[in-house]
Structure formats: structure tokens, C-alpha cells
């Protein structure tokens, strides 16, 4: 019955309402929830029990990679063709610090950007919720709660009823 569906989308007019509704949905036993909002809503992640994101580890990894690459590069080129430059030492660590620092930052920042997009599954131009009639307001001034069809408790009619029951401005089915 629900195979052709992505889920049910309920519209709320303020973050507070959304939070409230989400809390109720969780209590009602819905687990596979998602929310779409114009800006990050304080505390939503706790209510939906989202795991802490792991971008920072990507960043750390990038930083280490960057520093390593920079040092390796600078040591190697001076090892490969050691030349006396103004009587300075061949492996002038202090002089290599600058490029090392820059590359650390560069790699780290890029790693985080890529990780963020990757984990968010972006870019993704076509997505079921976009098909929803009122979804264009999700980036404007409305706050949407979505119960996915995969949810154990999901039942097309009951879920709709439940959502309109907790004060959604509108409820609509989102096809796959």
C-alpha cells in the first residue's frame, strides 16, 4: 500500500509548533521522521534523536593529511636537489612552517566541505519532497514535519489523521 509513497508531509507555521508536533509524533511511536525548515531549529535534533555529526573528524583527518603532505613535499624537494641557498640549512624547518600551516588549513577545510556534502547526500537535484505542493515554503516561512513511509507505524490514513490532529496547517502525501 505504501510502496508508492515517500511519506506524509505536515506543515506548521512556527518552529515551536514544529517542535511540539515532533515531540508528540515521537511519543506516538513514530521513529522515521524528518523535518524541513528555513533555518536550523534549536533542539530539533535532540527531539528526533539524530546522532552527533562527524564532520570534525573529517576536518582533523584533512589537517593531518595537509600538514604531512606539505612537510613531505618540502623535505623531498630539498633532499632531491640540495642546493646551498644563502648559507641556510637544507632542511630549514622554520622556513617550511608557513607552507605547512597553509596546507593544513586548506586540506582541512576542503575535507569538511566534502564530508558535509557527502553525508548530506548532496548534490541531489531530484528528491521526492520537492514534489510536494507547498514545499516551496519550507525555505521561506513554514516548518514541515515528514513521516517517512518506511516507518513501522506508518499507515497512510492514520498518519494523516494523526498529523492534522496535532495542528498541522496542511497535510499532504508525498509520492515516491
Amino acid at each position: 500500500m505504501a510502496e508508492h509513497l515517500y511519506g506524509v508531509l505536515a506543515e506548521f507555521e512556527s518552529p515551536e509548533r514544529l517542535l511540539e508536533a515532533t515531540r508528540q509524533a515521537m511519543e506516538a511511536g513514530y521513529r522515521d521522521l524528518d523535518a524541513f525548515t528555513p533555518f536550523p531549529v534549536e533542539g530539533l535534533d535532540r527531539v528526533v534523536r539524530l546522532p552527533r555529526p562527524t564532520i570534525s573528524f573529517a576536518g582533523l583527518g584533512g589537517a593531518i593529511a595537509g600538514a604531512g603532505a606539505a612537510l613531505l613535499m618540502q623535505f623531498y624537494v630539498n633532499y632531491d636537489y640540495p642546493l646551498n641557498v644563502g648559507g641556510r640549512p637544507v632542511y630549514a624547518i622554520s622556513a617550511f612552517a608557513v607552507v605547512t600551516f597553509e596546507l593544513t588549513i586548506l586540506f582541512s577545510a576542503l575535507a569538511m566541505l566534502i564530508a558535509m556534502l557527502w553525508q548530506n547526500g548532496l548534490p541531489r537535484l531530484n528528491y521526492p519532497v520537492f514534489a510536494a505542493k507547498r514545499f516551496h515554503r519550507a525555505s521561506r516561512d513554514r516548518f514541515f514535519l515528514c513521516v517517512n513511509a518506511q516507518d513501522a507505524l506508518f499507515d497512510e490514513r492514520e498518519t494523516r489523521a494523526f498529523l492534522s490532529g496535532i495542528g498541522a496547517l496542511s497535510v499532504e502525501l508525498v509520492p515516491k
Partner: protein, 959 residues
């Protein structure tokens, strides 16, 4: 991508190249090519642009460093029949001589694949001892001057030599009829035995013919003065090497001229006699600052007109009979007292000299003083005059003869009277009245343009000839390259006048020496050619001053006007040599122009600044030029410099500066009276050093005998030491010996293909000389103490420049040389920004010459010619170092001290520059680094330079 084709004899194509240029410079395609090759040109004004095209033709070296990485296949041309002696790519050396004012400048010519590229003094020759001056160095560029007369002409139309010979034949007909009545020869200064012999022969054939001589730079006047004093034709030779005290009156004996190298050698030799105090003392009284004056321990500033009085005052102070004491200023009296004090205990080891502006009046007293001190024969030696011919008439007489209509045919040989004659003789006009006139010279110059016939003369390096050096030793001049224009030597032309047909180039010279060598001719001839000179100086003669007191010329007019040959283009004969034009003048650092030198006080009176135009009037004649304030010039003396304002020098030398000959009088050619007033206009002079006051920095140091102490050469560093190779190159420059003569700069230019950039680029501050001679003065601008300080690359061991380069284009060699790799340079100019000494030079534009320029033949194939956008600088002549390495390595032996000699060191006439291996404790340079006067420029910067200095001696005031 242009190529060096060293294994191709380039001379073969010489004439074609020349024709090429002539046609090309007009042709639009060539213009386009120039715009591509020399972007600089486009931004120049129309006239400047023409100027630049000229320049480029005359003074750039060729080819080399184009960055294109893909190496295409190019043509290679082997010999058809390779000369046995020729080793491809190996330079060969010939002993010969070039000429300055008729005197031989004995040289060793370096030739690559048959083309001379470098001249240096002949080491075996007693006069030069291997040293050189700027004129000798630049003669090679003169050889390749594209503006040289390349074929005989009549009224400017090219003709053949057979035409010339037939014309001469007709002349001879006439002369035979009247024994040469109305025939005149006008000779430039000459010492050539062969030429003199031919002249005699000519006069024998045509007894009524007359010979006149004309030397613009003072040779004639010197001889006249000596004649007036001693009553016979003698030359004076200064034995400076044995002098304890030298006293000069307006005599710049260390300045440019035929005697410079010998005098400088002698002076520096005695100057360096001991290491704990100056070996001699130098007193100068002068009106116009000169190199010699700058070096004097005690310098008196006096107007030129005062010299006879000063001479007499000296004489009376010393007790010369008949000398009365004229009234003196306090300064003059004090100076004379010092001189007398210094000389009294140096009888026979002191020397008094006076110059042209003092005239016979001063010279006579000086001669008597030398008599009194028994210097004559000791420090002052007289020889019979070696310039000839004896009994020749003067230029003035010629002028009057012409105007009197007594001259029908005139042959002008190797001089340019139409330009160099005193203005009042108006010789140019006179020449037009001569029925048939012939000019024989390397250039179709002002005179050549006036004469009916212009016969192109071979350059000394293309000629068989002979000449005598200043000490009288004869040199047989042999060609080191076959003439690449249709030219003849003076001897060939004289032979034609004597009736020979198509005489061989060496016939006359051989004949001369056949007579003197006699039976052992072949052997001695070979020997002479190999050595570069014939043993036997002019023998000394003893003469004593005979003349009674000579009256000093009476002073009229408000200012003393003195004339000086230009320090770099001399009397004007070198005007078309780009290298010399771009050399900074000894004391002013002005290039590409002459100036009117005045004292600071006079400038203040005129409220004029450097570059303001002023007008000089002498009698009715006036000229105007840019004014230059010369620190230490006498208040009411004005200095005019000869050699500029030429109109037919060629594409380099035309229309620069002003023509001082215009206001010159025949009676008083060196010192006259006149007036000066300021004009509204001004010009921006091309100078290489804007600021001369030392501002209290100790850049050029002095040391008095008391302060001398053993110095240690090693300098501290924060960095861990790098291991040195077996050789560690270093240089020491002795400021006490440097006479600021520029020979080093000229030599460097020739050796390292340093481009000439032209006045506009010099004005922009972009001159390219790898080695600059810094001129400083300390103290009051009215009575300054002057310094010369040559500044090449310091080759710092902890070089800031190297640290700045992002692409490893400048690095350090294990031998301590700061290397600059042009082909790796991308032109960030960081190195130059970081260089505390600012010795790096940058190719802001493409300064190279187009392939068509004949001057590319002068370029040293061992050194890359730099292209646009790369940095360059002194390399310690690395090509010579590497050559020495190869030579030593092939024999598996270490390099010996003296194996490597840098171009500047080789040229320096006072041996002030010493280069060598500082790892070898016995090397000359290592010894000097331990000398008590040794110091490091900007030592506090911690750059640890390899080039260091010896401080200049300052006399303890105890004297």
C-alpha cells in the same frame, strides 16, 4: 631562437651584414622587427627612437638566452679546409697594439673563431704590464662599428680604389711639375716609424710640399711647452715608482690619456711600498677636480690662472734662483709650506709636475725646482720626442696658407680638423677653398664630409703597421682579422701618394724593419710579432731649462675657462663607441653628454642647478650646454669638456652634448678667459649616481698609519657552516689604489656582454654595469675629500638575495660564488630588493641587438647574452673560473694562484683589485684579507661578503 655559430667563420659575411643594416633601418619590415625585438623603442619619442635604432645597431651584443625549451634542429657549418692551428671553440691570442693619439697601446687580442672579442694589455710590455684603460678595452667595439667608412667615396659617391689611384696619379703629375708646391699633408698625432719614413720619402720626392700636424688632446702643446723650457723637442717621463713625494699643478697625470696606465702603475707601486703607512705622499693644486686630485693627501683649490704664480712661489720657497715670492692667499701659503716641509728631505725622490693650463710659465719654474731637488734624471726623465714628424708646421699655419690661396691639394690623414680645430680658425670654411682634398680616416666624419675624396682607413686590428709606446718601445701592429670592409692602411695610401700601385698591406712595414733588423730580419720579425714589441726604449737625454722667465698670460675676462679632453670619449674620436658613451665620467657619473663644470659658489651666484643650460662666451664666440656643480672646483674657473657636439660621428655619437671646440682659441687652447650666464632652458642629464655626499656612513673607510692592526677575515654567522670546496673564491679591492679610471667597468662590459641601454634607460636608473665605481665625498662641498669605491657583487656567503628567490635561480656554489642562472630566472626581482648592496641588474626590456648588428661579432661566446625579464650580476667571471677548472682537471692538478684572473682585476692599472682562492693561505688575496687595512662593507648586516676592501690611507695630521 638565435644561435651562436662559433664553428662558422663569421667574418666571411661581414660586408653583407653591413649592407643589410644600411638598407634595413629604413625598411618597414625591419621597423616591425625592431618593435618586436626592442619593445622599448615604441615608447621613445620619434627622435629618441631614431637615436635608439642607431644605438642598437652600434652597441648591443647578440643572441643567446631565449627560454624556448623545445630544441629544434639548426644548421651546422664545418670548415672546408680547417686551419691546423684552429681548435674549435678555443680562443686564440695575438700580440699587437691599438692606437691612442698615435701612441701604441700594446695589447693581447683574444679572438674566437677568427674574430677579436677582447683586448687586454700586453703583460710582457714594459708600459702596460698587462694592464689597460677604457680606450684600449673599447677599441674592439670600434672595430665592429657599423658606421665605419666602408668604401672610398668622391663627393659622397662610392668609387673604386682604382679610381682613387688614378686620381692620385693625376695629382702626382701636378706635384711633379711644381715639386709639390701647394701640396699639403695634415697628419694626426703619430709615432709610427714606417709612416714617418714614408713622409720623409714623400718630402724628398716633392721638396716644396709641406707637412702639418694636428693633435686635439694636447700633444702639440705639451711638446711646445717642453721646447720653450728646454729649448729642444723632448718628452718627459715620470718615474713615479721611485717617488716619495709628488707635487702636481693642474696636472692630472693619473687621469685618462696615453700615459695613464704607465703613471698609474708607477704611482700605485710606490704607494704600496709598505703595509703600515702610505708609500708616498701626493700634493695637488688644481682648478678642476681630477682623479689625481681626488687621491691627493693635500689638495689645494686654486684657479687655473694661479698656476704660474704658485709655481714661482714654490720655487722661491725652495730657493730657486731668480724666483720672487708673489702674493699668496693663506690657503696657498699653507699648502706651499706643507709641500716644502714634505720635500726637503726627499731630494732626488720627489717629483714636481705641471699641466697644460699652467703653460710654459709654470712649466719653467717646475723644471727649475726639479733641477734644484736633483729630481731631473731620477724621478723625471727626458727623452727625445717620439711623436713626429720633426719640423712639421701647425694647423694655424695651414689655415692661413689656405686662406692665402697657397694650398692646391690637401691630404688629411687620420685626424678630423673640421671638428677638432679651434673654432676661430673656421677650418671648415677654409677646406672648401682647396681645389682637391683627400681625407683618410676610419669614419666619414666632419672632415671626410668636406673633402672631395674620403678614403676609408683600416682599424688598427685589421692593419699592418707599427707605432711606439709612451716609453719609446716600438710595437709592430699585425692584423688579427682580415678587413671586412674595402679599406686600406695609412701606409698603403702613403705608398699610393709615393706612386706605388695597389701596394701590399705589409710591404711598407716590412721594409722599415728590414732596414733596422738587417740580416737577422726573419727571426727578429717573428720574435717581434710574438712578443708584441721590439726591445729598446727611447734613450734618455739630459737637458736643463734654458729659457729665462716666461711671462704668464695676462688674465682678462671675469672667469678662467679651462678645456679638458672628455674622460670617456677623449677628443671626440670615440664618440661613436657605445661602451664609452655609457661609462660614467670619472667624477660626475654623467653619461652620454659632456657638461660645463662650475664650482658650487659660482652655481650659487648664478642660482643654477645641475642640468640648467648656461652660455659660455669667449670673445665673440659662445656655446651653451648643461651646467654641472663640481664639488671642490675653484670658484672662478669654468671647465669645458671636448669631444661632444659631433654631427658626423655616427648613429651613436651624433648630437650629444655641446661642442667646446667652438669657443677654443688657437693661441690659448687650454686656458682662456670668458664669461658665463644662465639660460632659461634645462635638461635631464643621464647620470648613474644621484647622491655623492657620504652622509656620515663609513662605507668608504679611511685609516691612518697609527690605527693599523692585524685583522681577522672570518665573520660570524648564525647558520651552521656549509662545507667549502677545495677552492673558495674571494676578492679584495684596495681603495687606496683605486683611481676611478673605469678600466674595470669597461673590461667587465667587454668580457660579460653587458648591453648598452642608451641615455633614456640610464635616466630611468636602469644602467646595466655589473660593477659600479661609487663616487663619494665627505666634508664641505667647497673643499671635499673624494673617494672612489668599486662595488661589484659581494658574493655574500649568507646571501639575502638567494633566500628570496622562489625558483632556485640564484644559489651558492661550494666555492662560495653567488650564482645567477639567467635561464632559470623568472624575474621576481626579489633578490635585488633584498640585496643590501644593490649590485644586481635587471633586463627591464629586451636589451639585445638584432642578428643583423655587426657588433655581435664582439660578443664573448663563453657568456650567455641575457634576454628580457631576467636578473644579472657580477659572476666573478665564472667562465674564467670554469675554464681554469677544466684546464687543471685535464692535467689532474689543483688550480694555482693566478690561474683565475677576473676581467676587472686584469684591467686595473693600479692592481687595486685582487682575486683568488682564500682557502690557500699563501695566495695574494688571502694575504690581503689579513692586512691591517682590511674591512668588510656593511659587516653589521652579517651577509659575510667574499668581496672585501682595504681602507684608504689618511695622513696623520702630524704629516
Amino acid at each position: 631562437m638565435k644561435r651562436r655559430t662559433c664553428d662558422q667563420p663569421p667574418i666571411a659575411r661581414g660586408p653583407r651584414v653591413w649592407a643589410g643594416i644600411e638598407e634595413l633601418s629604413a625598411d618597414p619590415e625591419f621597423q616591425a622587427f625592431i618593435d618586436a625585438e626592442f619593445p622599448a623603442v615604441q615608447e621613445l619619442s620619434k627622435t629618441a627612437r631614431r637615436q635608439f635604432l642607431k644605438l642598437m645597431g652600434a652597441s648591443f651584443a647578440l643572441a643567446g638566452l631565449t627560454g624556448c625549451e623545445k630544441s629544434s634542429f639548426v644548421a651546422a657549418l664545418p670548415y672546408v679546409d680547417q686551419p691546423d692551428s684552429e681548435t674549435l671553440g678555443r680562443p686564440r691570442y695575438y700580440a699587437t697594439a691599438v692606437l691612442l693619439d698615435g701612441y701604441a697601446q700594446p695589447v693581447i687580442a683574444t679572438t674566437h673563431a677568427g674574430r677579436p672579442t677582447k683586448l687586454d694589455g700586453n703583460p710582457d710590455h714594459p708600459v702596460t704590464q698587462g694592464r689597460s684603460d677604457i680606450f684600449m678595452q673599447s677599441a674592439v667595439l670600434q672595430l665592429y662599428d657599423p658606421d665605419r667608412a666602408n668604401a672610398p667615396t668622391r663627393h659622397g659617391e662610392p668609387v673604386s680604389w682604382t679610381d682613387v689611384e688614378s686620381a692620385i696619379g693625376i695629382m702626382r703629375e701636378g706635384w711633379r711639375a711644381d715639386q709639390g708646391e701647394g701640396a699639403r699633408l695634415l697628419l694626426g698625432p703619430t709615432t709610427s716609424p714606417t709612416l714617418l719614413r714614408q713622409i720623409d720619402a714623400f718630402l724628398k720626392q716633392f721638396p716644396k710640399a709641406r707637412v702639418h700636424t694636428h693633435a686635439a688632446a694636447g700633444l702639440d702643446e705639451r711638446r711646445e711647452i717642453m721646447a720653450a723650457v728646454y729649448g729642444r723637442r723632448v718628452d718627459s717621463n715620470y718615474e713615479l715608482a721611485v717617488c716619495d713625494v709628488v707635487v702636481g699643478l693642474d696636472e692630472d697625470f693619473l687621469g685618462p690619456g696615453p700615459h695613464q696606465v704607465r703613471n698609474a702603475l708607477g704611482w700605485s707601486q710606490s704607494r704600496r711600498r709598505s703595509s703600515d703607512r702610505p708609500g708616498n705622499r701626493l700634493f695637488m693644486a688644481e682648478s678642476v677636480p681630477s682623479a689625481t686630485g681626488a687621491l691627493a693627501d693635500h689638495r689645494l683649490i686654486a684657479d687655473a690662472g694661479r698656476m704660474p704664480a704658485l709655481a714661482e712661489a714654490l720655487a722661491s720657497a725652495i730657493g730657486v734662483v731668480g724666483a720672487s715670492r708673489p702674493s699668496l692667499t693663506e690657503a696657498e701659503a699653507g699648502w706651499i709650506a706643507r709641500v716644502v716641509g714634505a720635500c726637503s728631505e726627499h731630494k732626488g725622490r720627489s717629483l714636481f709636475v705641471s699641466g697644460l693650463s699652467g703653460g710654459a710659465a709654470a712649466a719653467l719654474w717646475i723644471a727649475r725646482i726639479n733641477q734644484q731637488f736633483a729630481n731631473a734624471g731620477q724621478t723625471l726623465k727626458l727623452t727625445d720626442a717620439i711623436t713626429g714628424p720633426v719640423g712639421a708646421a701647425t694647423l694655424a699655419e695651414l689655415a692661413s696658407d689656405i686662406s692665402a690661396g697657397r694650398v692646391t691639394s690637401l691630404v688629411v690623414i687620420d685626424c678630423n680638423p673640421a671638428y677638432t680645430a679651434p673654432g676661430e680658425l673656421a677650418l671648415g670654411e677654409a677646406f672648401k677653398r682647396v681645389r682637391s682634398s683627400i681625407h683618410v680616416g676610419t669614419q666619414r666624419d666632419e672632415t671626410g664630409n668636406l673633402c672631395e675624396w674620403q678614403l676609408p682607413l683600416a682599424h688598427a686590428l685589421e692593419s699592418w703597421s707599427d707605432a711606439r709606446a709612451v716609453d719609446g718601445t716600438s710595437t709592430i701592429i699585425q692584423p688579427v682579422i682580415s678587413p671586412f670592409y674595402d679599406v686600406r692602411t695609412t701606409h698603403q695610401i702613403l705608398a699610393m701618394l709615393l706612386g706605388e700601385v695597389d701596394p701590399a698591406a705589409d710591404a711598407a712595414v716590412r721594409e722599415t724593419w728590414q732596414n733596422s733588423f738587417g740580416d737577422s730580419f726573419e727571426a727578429r720579425w717573428k720574435q717581434a710579432l710574438h712578443d708584441g714589441f721590439v726591445e729598446g726604449k727611447a734613450s734618455f737625454v739630459t737637458a736643463s731649462p734654458v729659457a729665462e722667465a716666461v711671462a704668464a698670460p695676462s688674465a682678462g675676462g671675469d672667469l678662467d675657462i679651462v678645456f679638458r679632453p672628455d674622460p670617456t670619449v677623449w677628443d671626440g674620436q670615440f664618440a661613436n663607441v657605445g661602451w664609452l658613451q655609457e661609462l660614467p665620467k670619472t667624477l660626475t657619473t654623467v653619461t652620454w653628454s659632456n657638461v660645463i663644470g662650475v664650482s658650487p659658489a659660482l652655481a650659487a651666484r648664478l642660482s643654477a642647478a645641475n642640468g640648467d643650460h648656461v652660455e659660455v662666451s669667449v670673445g665673440t664666440r659662445r656655446i651653451s650646454g648643461p651646467l654641472w656643480i663640481t664639488p671642490g672646483q675653484a670658484d672662478s674657473t669654468v671647465a669645458l669638456y671636448l669631444g661632444y657636439g659631433r654631427t658626423r660621428a655616427g648613429r651613436v655619437g651624433d648630437n650629444l652634448g655641446y661642442d667646446a671646440y667652438q669657443v677654443r682659441s688657437d693661441a690659448e687652447p687650454w686656458l682662456t678667459q670668458g664669461s658665463l650666464h644662465k639660460l632659461a632652458s634645462r635638461e635631464d642629464l643621464a647620470i648613474t649616481q644621484l647622491h655623492h655626499r657620504l652622509e656620515g656612513f663609513d662605507l668608504a673607510r679611511e685609516i691612518s698609519p697609527g690605527q693599523v692592526k692585524e685583522a681577522s677575515a672570518d665573520q660570524a654567522s648564525l647558520y651552521p657552516p656549509w662545507p667549502s670546496a677545495k677552492n673558495a673564491w674571494g676578492m679584495v679591492i684596495d681603495l687606496d689604489s683605486c683611481i676611478g679610471c673605469n678600466a674595470c667597468v669597461a673590461a667587465c662590459t667587454a668580457e660579460n656582454n653587458v648591453p648598452v641601454v642608451g641615455p633614456d634607460q640610464v635616466r630611468a636608473g636602469r644602467e646595466m654595469h655589473w660593477l659600479r665605481i661609487a663616487r663619494y665625498y665627505t666634508g664641505d662641498i667647497a673643499e671635499p675629500r673624494s673617494f672612489f669605491e668599486p662595488v661589484p657583487c659581494m658574493h655574500c656567503e649568507d646571501a639575502p638575495c638567494e633566500m628570496g628567490c622562489p625558483v632556485h635561480a640564484t644559489t651558492h656554489s661550494p666555492e662560495g660564488v653567488n650564482q645567477m642562472v639567467y635561464n632559470r630566472c623568472i624575474g621576481t626581482r626579489t633578490c635585488s630588493s633584498y640585496c643590501p648592496y644593490k649590485v644586481r641588474r635587471f633586463n627591464f626590456y629586451d636589451y639585445r641587438a638584432p642578428a643583423e648588428s655587426p657588433t655581435h661579432a664582439a660578443h664573448n661566446p663563453e657568456v650567455t647574452v641575457r634576454s628580457r625579464g631576467v636578473m644579472e650580476k657580477c659572476t666573478y667571471c665564472t667562465q674564467r673560473i670554469e675554464a681554469a677548472h677544466v684546464a687543471a682537471d685535464k692535467e689532474s692538478r689543483p688550480i694555482r694562484d693566478g690561474d683565475v684572473v677576473t676581467a676587472c682585476q686584469q684591467a686595473c692599472p693600479t692592481k687595486a683589485i685582487v682575486f683568488g682562492d682564500i682557502n690557500d693561505p699563501n695566495s695574494e688575496v688571502a694575504r690581503l684579507k689579513r692586512d691591517g687595512r682590511h674591512y668588510v662593507l656593511l659587516e653589521e648586516q652579517g651577509t659575510r661578503p667574499r668581496t672585501t676592501y682595504l681602507a684608504r690611507w689618511r695622513e696623520d695630521d702630524t704629516g
